[in-house]
Structures are given as C-alpha cells and as structure tokens.
Symmetry: C2
C-alpha cells in the first residue's frame, strides 16, 4: 500500500461516517484536495486491489478489506497523536500534521508497543476513539453542545472540528476535555449560549457549540 492509497482509503472512511451510501468522486476530490479526474484514476486502482466497490458514475464504497485498512491507519494516527501529547508534550493543536506522516509507518510491533507504552488508551487527544488491533473501538454517549437543552450539563469529551484555530480558541477559553460544562442560557436569535466552564462563565457562538462534544450528565 502506498501512502497515497492509504490516504484515499482514510478519506473515503471519513466521508462514509454516519451513512453507508457511496461517496461521489467530487466529494472525495474535495476531501483529498485534488481533482476529480485524479480521484477516478486512484479509485480504479483501489477497486482492482479489492479495497473499494466502484462502478462508473456510481461513486465509491469501502469493501470489508478496505474498512480494515482504514481502521488500521486511523489506529496508528490516533495512537501517534496520543504519544505526541502524552510523551512529547505537544499541544493538541500541533499533533495532526506530524501524525499524518507517522500513520504510514509500517510495523505491527511498533504500534502495539506504542499502545502498551501509552497504557492502551481508548481515546486520542481530541476525544476520538482509538480502534484496537482488531479494529474495534468504544463509542461513547456524546452530543454536540449545540443540541443540548438549557440548564443541562455534562463533561467535554471531544471536538468535531479539530483544526488548530478551533483548538487554540478552546485553550484560550479554558475549555479542555474532561472539564465540566453547563448551559446557563441560550439566545434564540443567533443560537449563541452562555455557559459555565469549571468556575467561570462565557458566551459561546453557535459555531463553537456545534463543534464541541459533551457527555450529558444523566
């Protein structure tokens, strides 16, 4: 498997999340930041290797085998992110780029030892689940902050957008995974909200609330 092939597989997997319909060439081109014609080329190669189902003009879907490849790459990516944060003191907005490179290193032993070194973590620094070596992972009860009712509260457990700019915004506002968050008030007009994080409060736009996952308190 080339790096490029692995990246396409991962791209298809991400676009497929929450829906098992075929992914369009254009959508995949968008994800991969490339041209549709390049996608067509690659998708044919992947199809010949049995990693995707592909019929002309019908879009693309991962095969069983392709899904396993995707989960392996994602496992590596997320374990490396955890390593960078836990062992090398990277901040959570710095890890993605480096993990994009590290995820292509081929060594089962390496990744299993890394897993052990980190004490078999279930989630990466952004709250995304880390598949185990068989591709299984824990899903957790979480909702976007924007979907929660006034006065409800919970624990911040993940981000939907993991861009550096969003993560830095969260840092500046003392919002970190594991923190308790409570919705004090919601503004119907623009859907902004007033929240309490730990012991101080702030106003949050809808865009922010729609990218932060919270595990609601029962």
């Amino acid at each position: 498997m080339t790096h490029s092939e692995e990246n396409y597989i991962k791209g298809i997997y991400h676009l497929s999340q929450g829906g098992k319909k075929a992914i369009s060439t254009t959508a995949l081109a968008g994800q991969m930041e490339t041209k549709p014609s390049s996608v067509t080329d690659m998708v044919k190669r992947l199809s010949e290797k049995g990693l995707v189902h592909y019929k002309k003009y019908q879009g693309v879907r991962l095969t069983e085998q392709g899904t396993m490849v995707a989960l392996k790459v994602i496992r590596k990516h997320r374990l490396w992110e955890a390593f960078l944060v836990e062992k090398l003191d990277f901040s959570w907005d710095e890890v993605h780029e480096v993990a994009e490179q590290l995820e292509h290193i081929e060594s089962e032993k390496l990744i299993d030892r890394l897993d052990a070194l980190l004490d078999f973590p279930d989630y990466d620094p952004h709250g995304d689940p880390i598949p185990d070596k068989h591709g299984r992972f824990k899903t957790r009860d979480k909702k976007l902050l924007s979907t929660m009712p006034v006065h409800s509260q919970g624990i911040c457990v993940g981000v939907k957008d993991s861009s550096a700019s969003f993560l830095k915004f969260l840092d500046r506002n003392h919002i970190a995974l594991g923190r308790e968050i409570q919705i004090l008030d919601k503004e119907p007009y623009d859907h902004s909200m007033h929240v309490r994080i730990g012991d101080h409060t702030l106003r949050i736009s809808h865009q922010i609330a729609a990218n932060l996952y919270v595990k609601p308190n029962p």
Copy 2:
C-alpha cells in the same frame, strides 16, 4: 526532499566515511541496491539541487549542504533507534528497518523532543554517535577487536556490521555493548582468538573480531 533523495544522500555519506574522494556510480548503485543508470539519473537531480558535486564520469561527492542533510537524516535514524530500544523494548537487531522509515518524518520539534525524552544520548544502540541538531557528534577512541594485541582488554563499544544475524550472534554469546572483553590468545593460522567476556570465555573467528569495536583500556 523526497525519501529517495534522502536515502541517496545518506548512502553517499556512508560510502564517503574515512576518505574524501568521489564515490563511483557503481559503488553507489551497490549501496543503494539499484542499477548504475538509476544512480546517474538521481545524481543529476541532486547536483541540480546543490546537494552533491558531480561531473560526468568523475563520481560524486556531497556538498556542504548535502553533508548537513545527511547528518540530519542520520541524527533522526539513530535517535529513533535509541527510542525503540529504550522506550519500546525493541532488541538492537530489530530497530534498523523501522528506523529506516522513521528517519524520513519531517518535524524538527518532534526530533528535538525525542532527543530530550531520551536525555540527549550520544550514541545509538549499535554504538554509533548521534549528531546533535547542528550536526556535531562525539567520536570515541575505539579499535576493531581484530587489531588489538594479545592480553589487551577493553570495553565493547560498537559494531561495524549491524546486520541482524551478527547482532543475534553477539546476543547468543553474551557480548553486549558496555561489557568488558579481554584477548586471552590469538591463533596465528586463521586469526581466530580466545576471549574473556565478563566471567566466561569463548573462541571467536576473525570475521567476528573484525566487526566488533572495543575501547582499549589504557
């Protein structure tokens, strides 16, 4: 820089060790396990990028810039090897392949943090010096065991051949870096020798002795 370019630069550096003469196309092809015609192609590219001096039929030499690139790749390679042994319990015969991949990861921060995590090691698991971030490294007083006189003794500090088979041989015979070694006797006929390692003795062929570095006791 592509991985392939980095590998060629590293290959030229290794062949240049102990001698500043130009490296022949054939020699480099041997090192890179490729054909001379492929070497010619690559060497032209590297020359255009200012990484090597190259004149047709005259062989190739690293420029100042090329040498810095080589030292950076070697630094990464050796730091990763140290990491694999120290933190992930790899044995010294398992690290090379994985480090060949890891050495191409591009992130200054990553490599500096790794250096710190390992407490700024001077040598890798095979006893080779690790260049610092400016390309400087410590050389140490060492001789091949085969060149040392009868009754002399010293400490094992490195290997010339770091193939898995040689390293496994050393393991099986309780020869590890840091161990004291003493030459009890030399056989003039085949240059084999009788040595003491720690508190037991064994017979060693010339081929073994010619691949083990020892720091002689004064």
